[in-house]
């Protein structure tokens, strides 16, 4: 395998790299002008459950989600909502003024770019420059112990 052997200069880890698959790391994203930097798991849970409806700046929070049955939603379902896709659909129906559903990663990024006060969720490997990645409990998605990281 010339590609990876020659290109990875961290020689020791070649064998590991050959067979290592990383866990999914979901980033919580907001518009880059949003003043928020770091939230706790409890605060995040209140935001996504519509218990907190405004940012510290006073602007309204809009939650942007994928369909609850998509793989992108698995970690949010199990670790923040602690519910199943069907119950989350019911929850969304009850809070349709605060929640927007998008059907692709591109649409998720576009929603965060354009809706003031939006908060969403995307695979960290798909973030762009126009969004800010929030820390949760002081951790970024690439750090161990980050709550929305796993298989």
């Amino acid at each position: 395998m010339k590609t990876f052997r020659l290109i990875i200069f961290g020689i020791i880890f070649v064998c590991v790299a050959e067979c290592m698959c990383a866990a999914k790391q979901m980033a919580v994203i907001v518009h880059k002008s949003n003043g928020a930097q770091d939230v706790t798991t409890a605060e995040l849970s209140k935001i996504f459950k519509c218990d907190t409806r405004k940012w510290a700046s006073g602007s309204a929070i809009t939650i942007v989600l994928r369909d609850p049955a998509t793989p992108e939603m698995e970690l949010l379902l199990s670790r923040i909502y602690k519910t199943n896709p069907e119950d989350l659909r019911n929850f969304i129906a009850q809070h349709h003024d605060n929640v927007v559903i998008v059907d692709s990663n591109e649409a998720m990024l576009n929603a965060i770019h354009t809706i003031p006060g939006a908060i969403g969720l995307i695979d960290v490997f798909r973030i762009d420059h126009e969004v800010k990645v929030l820390k949760i409990d002081g951790k970024l998605p690439v750090e161990y112990g980050y709550i929305l990281r796993g298989n």
Binding site: M1, K2, T3, F9, I12, E130
Partner: protein, 503 residues
């Protein structure tokens, strides 16, 4: 090959009238976002042509030629930011890397915003700032959806550095859509599919790669390797021979053939072939790395005394070659399979001491190796029921992991945390940690057990199947997989029934 068309286009620029201003020259070709290629700022058309030649060489894995082209470009234009950046990305020497990055940083104000994004992508990665890297990389990809070179580089970054094979495949697919005969992208795409276990998709891509470059050895070598990953050893041997027919001293195929013999159980043939490969290694570090594989053949035969002698000889070679990380790796490996506790402790101590010798290993590589040494200490302590010692070492490893975003260190921590939690019979807590290292043979074996105990039989069976089918030519594979296969063959498959909770 299509890649060379860009070179010709750049060369034409050299014919532009001398009166053209440097700034205007810097803005051609392309007009930035919306055009096919990113703007490249340089005062010298010759430098630009050399830079592009370097990219083509890199994409075809001719790294020394690529470096030479970029260094020649800098001779023509010392302020050529992208050339400094690309050298910093590919040059193996950490001091030279740092010097090139410093030069690139100093030139940030002299280039276009897109080039600054490119610099952020590469420089942030060198600082382990993954968020910065990803944001810059994805931003550039959106701006230049038809720049196959950018997509190739991004696919490489996602696969080789982050092991995100699905995302890497998506990016390589875009590069191939732009140019269906783009050899470098076909090579990446084949591996990206193979690492996901999608061999049905990987094989045709690699066969097309062979068609595109019929006289080069690497396509045959890559095809051979993914055949080996799929367990099709005889065909792998055939294609390694095809590669060597094209270039008899092609080091990767000499090595690949040896690796395949080792996995086939032909350890005498493997050792003989590793010795040939070592003679043709590109650098002393590669020679040492391949010597470690030579030593591991004795482990496959369970000739542990011979393995001890072989690994010590590899350690000596590493020491003499000033590759401290690999010297430590030799001793760490010895600690992994010792039955005598005092001997294991002695080798682990030697591994740590090796990292303190003056040698060419970068600080990051030392930290990674130290994390692996801790991982081995924890594994052995748990095996012997010394939980206090295991937890104390885990704390040390946790500190290193907290201070770093390095994926190698991170994985060592999670594997170790999972090992400790398994020993404490905390199955559900162990699972997410072990899943972070879900293709390492030791972690996979623990995961099979954890899933069974946690009442997830379908996941247990799927992981067991993956472990039994693992054909990576590594020490860990040699120490875990043959025994696991034997045990699995002796008994019924792990409960194949799936429970409702097992999703």
């Amino acid at each position: 090959m299509k890649n060379h068309l860009h070179v010709h286009r750049w060369v034409l620029l050299a014919l532009l009238p001398a009166a053209i201003t440097a700034a205007a020259a810097a803005q051609t070709p392309g007009t930035g976002a919306g055009s096919d290629r990113m703007l490249i700022t340089t005062s010298s058309p010759e430098a630009r042509a050399l830079f592009e030649q370097g990219i083509v060489a890199w994409e075809n894995l001719h790294i020394p030629q690529a470096l030479q082209c970029w260094q020649d470009a800098i001779k023509k234009d010392p302020n050529f930011l992208l050339a400094h950046l690309y050298i910093s990305e590919r040059i193996p020497d950490p001091d030279q890397q740092a010097a090139e990055r410093k030069k690139a940083l100093a030139l940030m104000d002299s280039v276009t915003p897109d080039e600054r994004l490119m610099a952020e992508w590469i420089l942030d990665e060198s600082r382990d700032d993954t968020i910065g890297t990803l944001a810059a990389m994805n931003e550039l990809l959106v701006r230049y959806p038809r720049d196959k070179h950018l997509y190739w580089f991004a696919a490489l970054t996602m696969g080789a550095n982050y092991h995100q094979w699905e995302r890497a495949a998506e990016l390589a697919e875009q590069a191939v859509r732009v140019d269906p005969d783009f050899a470098g992208a076909l090579n990446n795409l084949g591996y990206d599919y193979a690492f996901q276990g999608k061999f049905d998709q990987a094989f045709p891509v690699m066969r097309h790669y062979i068609e595109v470059l019929p006289t080069e050895p690497n396509p045959q070598d890559s095809y051979a390797e993914i055949l080996r990953m799929a367990g099709r050893f005889d065909e792998a041997v055939e294609h390694y021979h095809a590669s060597l027919k094209l270039e008899p001293n092609f080091g990767e195929s000499l090595l690949g053939l040896a690796d395949t013999y080792a996995l086939m159980g032909r350890e005498d043939d493997a050792r003989a072939q590793y010795e040939v490969a070592i003679q043709h290694a590109y650098t002393r570090a590669y020679a040492v790395q391949w010597k470690l594989k030579w030593a591991a053949t004795y482990l496959r035969e369970k000739r542990f005394s011979d393995a001890d002698a072989a690994f010590q000889s590899a350690a000596k070679m590493a020491h003499e070659s000033s590759v401290g990380g690999l010297e430590a790796e030799a001793y760490r490996t010895m600690a992994l399979y010792q039955t005598d506790e005092a001997a294991a402790a002695r080798w682990l101590q030697k591994a740590k001491e090796s990292l303190d010798h003056p040698h060419d290993t970068s600080q990051t590589a030392r930290q990674q190796q130290l994390a692996l040494i801790y991982r081995t200490s924890i594994y052995r302590a748990v095996q012997r029921g010394r939980m206090l010692e295991a937890e104390k070492t885990l704390e040390q490893l946790s500190k290193i992991a907290s201070a770093s975003h390095n994926p190698g260190i991170d994985v060592a921590f999670h594997a170790s945390a999972g090992t400790v939690l398994m020993a404490k019979r905390k199955w559900l807590e162990a699972i997410p940690h072990l899943e972070e290292d879900a293709n390492d043979p030791y972690s996979m074996e623990l995961l099979v057990n954890a899933y069974q105990k946690a009442g997830l039989p379908a996941k247990a069976e799927r992981t067991a199947k993956e472990l039994a089918a693992l054909n990576a030519p590594s020490v860990e594979q040699a120490l875990v997989v043959p025994e696991f296969r034997a045990k699995r063959n002796q008994k019924q498959p792990v409960n194949s029934a799936s429970s409702a909770a097992d999703k």
